[in-house]
């Protein structure tokens, strides 16, 4: 198994973890972390699969580079929105999640 494929498989695991977290966790800050983990998983899959035969492929690398910068911009925007929600409602959770949130905001 090549190094690329190994990391691509790790990327799949990270993607799954991020996806589960994004959907299941009520706290918005956790959702943002989960979103970033999901993104990192996707990036690893892209680059890892791109070079699973051992050669370096610049195209997915360039795409991931763009993706990282977009991800940080999205994170900053999401954090700002979450803060706004905190100011408005006093909690960092979406209204529909509030009913079943009990443990997560330590």
């Amino acid at each position: 198994m090549s190094v690329g494929l190994l990391y691509a498989l790790a990327g799949a695991a990270l993607f799954a973890i991020g996806l589960a977290g994004l959907l299941a966790l009520p706290h918005l800050l956790r959702k943002i972390l989960a979103f970033n983990i999901l993104g990192s998983g996707a990036f690893l899959i892209l680059v890892g699969l791109g070079q699973r035969d051992g050669s370096v492929d610049p195209v997915p690398q360039a795409m991931v580079l763009t993706g990282i910068v977009v991800a940080i911009a999205a994170t900053a925007l999401a954090l700002a929105l979450a803060r706004q929600l905190l100011e408005r409602t006093g909690r960092m959770q979406l209204p529909e999640d509030r009913a079943d949130a009990e443990t997560d905001d330590a």
Binding site: V3, G4, L6, Y7, A10, A13, L14, I17, G18, G21, L25, H27, L29, R30, L33, A34, N36, I37, S40, F43, L44, V47, G48, Q51, V56, Q61, A62, V64, L65, I68, V69, I72, T75, A76, L79, A82, R83, L86, G90, M92, T103, D105, A106
Partner: protein, 85 residues
Amino acid sequence: MSAALAFDLLIIAALVWSAARALTVADLFRGVVLFIVFGLLMALAWARLGAPDIALAEAAIGAGLTGALLLDAVGHLRAKREPEA
């Protein structure tokens, strides 16, 4: 087992572990610290994948911006809470 394979497996195990823990630990601040660690590990992973461009970007953004943004958010959240015991 070659040193390279050992390095890759360690990195991957640490990546998956820190990602899972960052989302599941009870304390939010601990989650953020684990996420910062996750970002630094990602930079090493990119280096091992032979993608120094991405390693550079991840190092710059992971160390410089993500950490600052998230720590700021945690501080904001704490300040909004009742003073802790």
